[in-house]
Amino acid sequence: MALLEVENLKIYYFTREGAVKAVDDVSFSVDRDETLGLIGESGCGKTTAVFAIMRFVAPPGRIVGGKIIFDGNDIITMSNEEIRLLRGKGIAMVFQAAQNALNPVMTVGKQITEVILEHERITKEESWERAKRQLELVGIGSERVKNYPHEFSGGMKQRVMIAIATACNPRLLILDEPVTGLDVIVQRQLLTLINKLRKELRLPIIFITHDLSVIAETCGKVAVMYAGKIVEQASTVSLYENPVHPYSQALIRAYPSIKGEKRGLKSIPGAPPRLINPPIGCRFHPRCPYAVNICREEEPIFRKKNGHLVACHSIK
C-alpha cells in the first residue's frame, strides 16, 4: 500500500450562490521514496486538495466525499487530537509566500524549537541544538538562530520554513508553490536544496506548482489538474515528451523550452470555468480544439495510454 492514497476526494465550498466544486473526484497516490508534482492553473483546486491532507479545509469549505489514507489511517475520520499529532510530525507543509508564513515577533530559532518540543520529549537546550543543525542543513549559519524573520531575505525565509518542516523528520512533505514569487536564481538554489534534502532524508514529497520547469527539476511523477479534476497522470519525462490530454499538450506548448528547438508559444484560448457551474461532460471541452459531441455530454473516465492515466474521450 502506498504511503498516501487519496481516493475520490470531493471538496465543495458552500457559498450563497451554490456549491463550488473546488476539488471533484480527485484520486492520486504517493509512494515512499516518491515525488509527486501537482500542476495546474491558479484556482484549479491543487492547494485545496493538499490542504485537505492536513485537514485544513475550513467552513464554508467541506470535504463531502472520498478518503485520504495516510499510512493506513483515514485522515478525514481522525479525531482532532490525532490529526494535530500528525501535523508537523507525520506530514509537514511549506507554504507559498514565506514572507507571511513566519511569525514576525518570534525568533526563527524559537519557531523551529516549537515544533520539535511539541512532538518530541527532549530538553529545551537539546531543541536549540537541533534548531541550529536544522538551519545549517538548509544552508543558513547557526549563529542566526536568534534572528527575527524580518532580518532574512525572501529565499532565506523559505529556507527557514523548510527547516521547520523537516525538523521532526516527517514521513511526507508537502510543498505548496515553495518558489513562487522568488527570483530565478533563488528559485534554483531552493530547488537544489529541496533535491538534496529529498535524497538525504529520503523524503516523499508532494510538490504543487503552476511552473512546469520546477516540476521537471524535482518530481518523478506528475498529475495535471484542471477545474477541480485531475486530467492526466504520468511520469514527468513521459508527460513532457508525449502529453496525451489536450490540456496537458496546451500547457506544455504555452511554456518556452530552452533546450529544444525554437518554437512559438501558444496560449490556451478562453478562461478556466467557474466551479459553481462547471461545464457538463468534460470540463475542458469549451477550450478544447478537439472537442466532439460526446465531450459535451459525458464525463470522460480514466484510460491508460502509453503508461499515462488520461481522462479524455479521444482515447479509445
Binding site: R84, G88, P104, V105, M106
Partner: protein, 329 residues
C-alpha cells in the same frame, strides 16, 4: 552594541518629547492670553476696588508688561517649578494640582487596569471566535457600552444604585466626619470608588474589546497562524504564542495613551461622582474662571500625554523586533 543602539534611540525620542513639550508650553501660554476678558477684573468682582488698586495688582502679576516679557517671565518661573497662584484657592497652582494627583491615580489606575485586562481577554476571545454566538454577544455588549458617554452611564448608575437603591454613596471619596481610620477608612474609600470605577471600566473596557477583537481577527487570518497549526501545536498555543502576541501590539499603544489619564484624570467620571481628582479640578477651574489653575492643569495633561507616548515608543522598540532600534549602519 545593542544597548548603545537603544540608548541613542531613547535619547532621540526624549529630545523629540522635550521639543513637543516646549511647543505645548508656548501654545498653552498664548491660548490664555487670547481669551477675552481681563483676569484682574475676574479676580476682584468688588465695586469698591479702585482703578489704582487694580493697577497695582496688575503690576504685581506682571500683566502690564508686553507679551514677550510676560512669556519670558512665565518660562523663567516655570523652570523654577512655579506655575502661578490659583485665583480661586489663593495657593500655588502646583500645590493645588499635586494635592489631587493621588486620588486620580488611585481611581484611574485601578479602573484602567481592570478595563485593560477584561477588555483584552474578552476581545481576544471574540476575535478568535469571530462569527460565533459568543462573539456576537461580546461585541453587542461592548459596542453598546462604548457608545454610551461616560457621564451618561455615571448619572444612570447614580440614579439607580446611589439614589433609588442607596447601596452606594452619591459622591466623594470618603464619608464626611466618619472618624474612620486605617482599614475602615480604606474600605470606605473603596466603597466610594466602586461606581466611578465601574463606569470607567465599562466604557474603556468596551474600547479595549473592540480594539483587541479587530486586531485579533486580523492576526488570526495571517499565514503564520496556518504555519503554527501545520506544526501540530495545540490550539491554545497557537492562540497565545502566535495570534495574541501579534494582536496585542496595537493594544499597547492605546494603553500607553490612556495611561496619560492616570495623571490627568477622567473629567466626566470625576465630575459626575464628585471625585476629588485632577479631572474634577479642571471642571472646577473652568467654572471658577481660574485661569492660572486651568493653564497649570492643561500643562500637566499635555506633559502626561507626551510622556506616556514616549514610554510607549520605548516599550515598542523592545516588544516589536521589526522596529529597528537606532541601527545606523
Amino acid at each position: 552594541m545593542a544597548l548603545k543602539g537603544f540608548a541613542s534611540f531613547a535619547i532621540r525620542k526624549a529630545i523629540a518629547a522635550i521639543i513637543t513639550i516646549f511647543a505645548i508650553v508656548c501654545v498653552n501660554f498664548l491660548i490664555f492670553r487670547m481669551v477675552p476678558g481681563d483676569p484682574i477684573r475676574m479676580m476682584f468682582r468688588d465695586p469698591r476696588i479702585t482703578a489704582e488698586q487694580m493697577q497695582l495688582v496688575r503690576e504685581k502679576f506682571g500683566l502690564d508688561k508686553p507679551l514677550w516679557e510676560q512669556f519670558n517671565c512665565y518660562l523663567t518661573e516655570l523652570f523654577q517649578g512655579n506655575l502661578g497662584i490659583s485665583f480661586w484657592q489663593k495657593r500655588p497652582v502646583l500645590e493645588v494640582i499635586a494635592d489631587r494627583i493621588p486620588q486620580t491615580l488611585l481611581l484611574v489606575v485601578t479602573a484602567l487596569a481592570i478595563a485593560v485586562i477584561l477588555g483584552t481577554i474578552l476581545g481576544a476571545i471574540a476575535g478568535w471566535k469571530t462569527g460565533t454566538k459568543i462573539d456576537s454577544f461580546i461585541l453587542g455588549i461592548s459596542l453598546t457600552l462604548y457608545s454610551v458617554p461616560t457621564f451618561c452611564m455615571g448619572i444612570i448608575f447614580l440614579l439607580i444604585f446611589a439614589f433609588q437603591l442607596a447601596i452606594f454613596p452619591l459622591g466623594g471619596i470618603s464619608t464626611a466626619a466618619s472618624g474612620l481610620t486605617g482599614f475602615g477608612y480604606w474600605k470606605d474609600v473603596l466603597w466610594h470608588m466602586f461606581l466611578p470605577a465601574i463606569s470607567i471600566v465599562l466604557w474603556y473596557g468596551g474600547e479595549y474589546v473592540l480594539l483587541t477583537r479587530s486586531s485579533m481577527q486580523d492576526a488570526s487570518g495571517q499565514d503564520y497562524i496556518t504555519t503554527a497549526r501545520a506544526k501540530g501545536l495545540k490550539e491554545s498555543a497557537v492562540l497565545r504564542n502566535h495570534a495574541l502576541r501579534n494582536a496585542l501590539l496595537p493594544v499597547v499603544t492605546i494603553t500607553g495613551v490612556n495611561l496619560a489619564f492616570a495623571v490627568a484624570g477622567i473629567i466626566e467620571a470625576e465630575t459626575v461622582f464628585s471625585w476629588p481628582g485632577v479631572g474634577r479640578l479642571v471642571y472646577d477651574a473652568v467654572m471658577k474662571r481660574d485661569y492660572p489653575l486651568l493653564q497649570g492643569t492643561f500643562l500637566v495633561f499635555a506633559v502626561a500625554v507626551v510622556l506616556a507616548n514616549l514610554v510607549v515608543d520605548l516599550i515598542y522598540g523592545y516588544i516589536d523586533p521589526r522596529i529597528k532600534v537606532g541601527k545606523s549602519e
